[in-house]
Symmetry: D2
Subunit: 339 residues, 4 copies
């Protein structure tokens, strides 16, 4: 950590301040006196040093972190890729994992039908919402516990592991047979929920918040991991920007950045990133070309009559064509990379 | 709601589609055939019409909402200002309410000392964090239940009503003696929490999420109100933008906009909006000049040793000077407005 | 165009207002009376209707555009892809065009050396900055006219057409032998410059402004085209968001969106989009997978000693590996698409 | 400037790299060896050190600036407020300067009528657009040279100094009788224009670009000042964010921040910041409460028939009421500040 002092600070003030820092945080302090400003370098374990406290000293101009504030997710301390095995499907080992299904679980017929269809096209996880976070209290809120039952039923019928969103730690007992628990964008900084998920041993798919930085996303993963659960999958799903044509802006750079800074697998959700059916294909291809370990795609047999997110769901036919292209691009990239 | 159809759609398709909309949503449909596109006007109660479903029909180009999607918070259906009475202090009646206190409750001495000091300067609510949402799992997480006890103690000593943040509906029983329950920016779209708060009868101070629109904030207030609790106070606390000099960007326009669109009282938090001590005064004055009903300000007796948010806390002396200016500006505006 | 009137407006007011609109803009007006609001549909050529003027009428609540405000760039009026031929290289016909070279032209040896090297790797255009827009007046401002001379020299030696940025219409006479004139992000709404470029007949590579919408970018292209020059190439180069890890956020969705809304070719600049060398490869692959017609990549033989943009320049060796991957992905996508 | 090296770098590499920096930039280098990373402090005049070049060295992890990259605008080197005298009206001396007038100059009757009216209400500068930057090539582009003539005529009639926008350095000869030359948001980084304005001696009102940072705005002011013209007035006019209710988001914090970092006067344009008539009053009051030296307000006698920006123009009656409130708030703040 670097502490830049205001100009005009005396050597005695610098020395007194350095003593305080050494005692309070157990760090070593290196001093560099410049013409216009004096700079302190804090050396040691600065993870717990509070930038705000240090900034509040009257002689301080600014404070800048040098080390990343995360540890468990940091690739520097864990150079190998984390691979998460879900019922034999390995996320993060270089193969493409496709999670597909409807935005909301609506009925047995719907969820089983879509599951069988996407499985045939190449998906290996079934996604579907039972608890639905909706901006409006008047919108369909999901079938909730009943939706989970239908998902489990579809899992039994097809053998596909299931991915579904949790909205409150109180619902955890209902998620016992769920294979991957999803934390939605709006709950990415629901720290009480993250702590509880850190105490279970299920894979957690953590979606980046709609206006959260890459670093904040990694800090939320750190909440889960530092509480004991190391099975975290990161998910980029578009961020909020000034552009209004798309629902969100897919930050495709986040894929290689997440993989550089952390060792966790990275999945992309092109459906929420765009909000538009015809963008799902080009964004899926872009995500895979950028190195994503998996995709999460909304598929609905009858989008105009979907109870939610109809505008961004692809039909089973569109999904089939998309999978063909995805596997071709993945193969092309693999063949060059391994040459 | 306006539905714009793709060019080349036949009159028969338009007629079939209009029938579907009439049946599905119970709305009336007006049709306007143009040269390049046909436009449908959906008339009636369109609050429950799902834009996504309508957009998913292949003949639809785009859908635009005409009416606001909120009802209970809407000034159109409730023209008079809502005034919330908390222990005799009225929020929303034109007088300025100042909520002040430390970011985190740290000790009995600290919280009582600050409470007595800010009360003397003119604050009429005591704020203080017991449950603290922190980006890092390694940062101080608040004294939690013990912090609430200390706050209640300070309330007893000073007679000031207390405002403090809730992070999980499970903690609600602990908040029985809290006067105003705060929902933090990160939980603004924690809909399970909002629903539970809608079932209690305490005033809720709802902070705008760090990247949420004005409309989304009103929809979150609608969650609380539609569940039965009409005592909602809106709080602008800065939004996330590309500018990095300030921690957030205070959206001062949100104050008059919230008051135009809704009948709820509006409070501003200049401490979190800026993250910098010396900006608290100008932003507080700006907020009041723009029409805010109240302010929420972080005050700490010893900012460099605060356990959180030291860099944005003002000292009791700075707070005293700030209150003097605030009351002068409020008086100046009142005297002209009432002339 | 849809005009939503305030509630409580009388039928007579509506009729008077409709007459004004008919006379002022020569449009037809369809009226739809709803319970809560009356909606007018303006039908005809609304391209010149000023939203602000209409909004300023006291009885108007809001105005929403239905038709796109651009015409010459609009795919609706020009369904076929525009293909621009530059010295035999066709941009927009489905083949990948790679524009490569240093950020700044620095010397004859440098520009010729890099040109020969990138040509060998597969680039078919040479890019290089002579006039350099720099945030700081103290930074290197480019070799200006001398830089253009060196570029032309490299063109003679290698036969590669050259792409370089213009910063003022006054410099146009110097650009006579330039093959593609680039408008930088900071000048995307320098309308006086756009008008002048519309009067020349050279291909213009128009970079999206760092915080401009897709629609604004198309409107700037419309400035050039409506002044007579139809040879416009759009370029996505990253937009400004709250994320600070990357210099900008590559809006990869803009590629398929530009191609859907307009008929113009689309090129991506991954170097400026990220500002980081190791992101150039994954972003280039993502851009091509999303459908880009070309790439513009900064290559420097000695990045640490580059006079500008060293941190985002790849070396000739990295560029060679990148080209190999790009051609493999392009071939894979072509082979599926054409099956 | 702080240079953070990658972990695992040898002492010899550090020593070699330090030598390069010393020779290349004439700076002194202080080294601080930490457990996880080594940090170099560059001491001396680092204004011309190119961050990108330094970052491009393979052993460098990141580079962070300590000193501000601007010098002439920096309050550290010029502690006193700059006061700019325009025909006896002093901008920056603590008194409120109000610049008012129509978005576009439309006719002699219009500009003289509005000038006389706003003068009576308390405005002391006349603003009006002759050269108009418009997003659409089909929108009214201003009366251009004829508009300037009309402005000068209104100046003669009323004695008010005039403020108007320039769009190209080629037009400078036409601006000889203009009192304050405005650089619009879209040209804030038109560096060729800034350089030319630096060579004239007229006051320049520099508007912050719609997505430019505070620092970039100061760097554009530095372009003008380093070329010889020290009469720069900064103008905050709203920035682009994800919020769509207002046209832009007024960054009211920029007022105190500009005044802290620089010595230049700061003016606010609430009309463009909001784009909505009824927001002009609260935003004007907020700007003045936050410390603005002046305001720039669009006033039109007949907003619905204005040729541009009708939706954000106030009427002369609204302007009169606004001025009354502004002077009351200014007086209230002055009276406390000077106690």
């Amino acid at each position: 950590m670097i502490v830049i002092l205001k100009s005009g600070v005396s050597r005695e003030q610098v020395s007194d301040f350095s003593d305080i820092l050494r005692k309070k945080y157990g760090v070593d302090v290196h001093t560099s006196f410049g013409e216009q400003s004096t700079v302190l370098g804090l050396v040691g374990d600065t993870k717990a040093v509070d930038i705000d406290s240090v900034s509040a000293f009257p002689i301080v101009e600014t404070v800048r972190r040098v080390q990343e504030p995360y540890k468990k997710v940091n690739r520097k301390f864990h150079p190998d890729d984390t691979v998460i095995d879900v019922a034999g499907h390995k996320i993060g080992n270089g193969e493409l994992q496709i999670m597909a299904g409807p935005c909301s679980v609506e009925s047995e017929e719907q969820i089983v039908g879509i599951a069988e269809s996407v499985k045939k096209s190449g998906a290996n996880f079934l996604r579907g919402g039972a608890f639905k976070p909706r901006t409006s209290p008047y919108a369909f809120q999901g079938l909730r516990a009943d939706g989970l039952e239908l998902l489990k039923h579809a899992k039994l019928k097809t053998g596909m592991p299931i991915v579904t969103e949790i909205m409150s730690a109180d619902h955890l007992p209902l998620f016992e047979d769920v294979d991957v628990i999803q934390v939605g964008a709006r709950n990415m900084q629901n720290f009480e929920l993250l702590k509880e998920l850190g105490k279970c041993n299920k894979p957690i798919l953590l979606k980046r918040g709609l206006a959260n930085t890459i670093e904040e996303t990694l800090m939320s993963a750190e909440y889960i991991m530092s509480n004991g659960n190391e099975n975290v999958i990161l998910c980029e799903r578009g961020i909020r920007t000034y552009e209004t044509f798309t629902r969100n802006t897919l930050d495709v750079s986040a894929v290689p950045v997440f993989k550089k800074l952390s060792h966790l697998p990275v999945v992309v959700d092109p459906s929420h990133a765009s909000g538009i059916t015809w963008l799902v294909e080009p964004l899926s291809l872009a995500a895979v070309a950028a190195g994503a370990d998996g995709l999460m795609i909304e598929v609905h047999n009858d989008p105009p009559h979907a109870l939610s997110d109809g505008a961004q769901s692809v039909t089973p036919e569109q999904f089939q064509r998309l999978c063909d292209k995805l596997f071709a691009v993945t193969n092309a990239i693999h063949s060059i990379t391994h040459n």
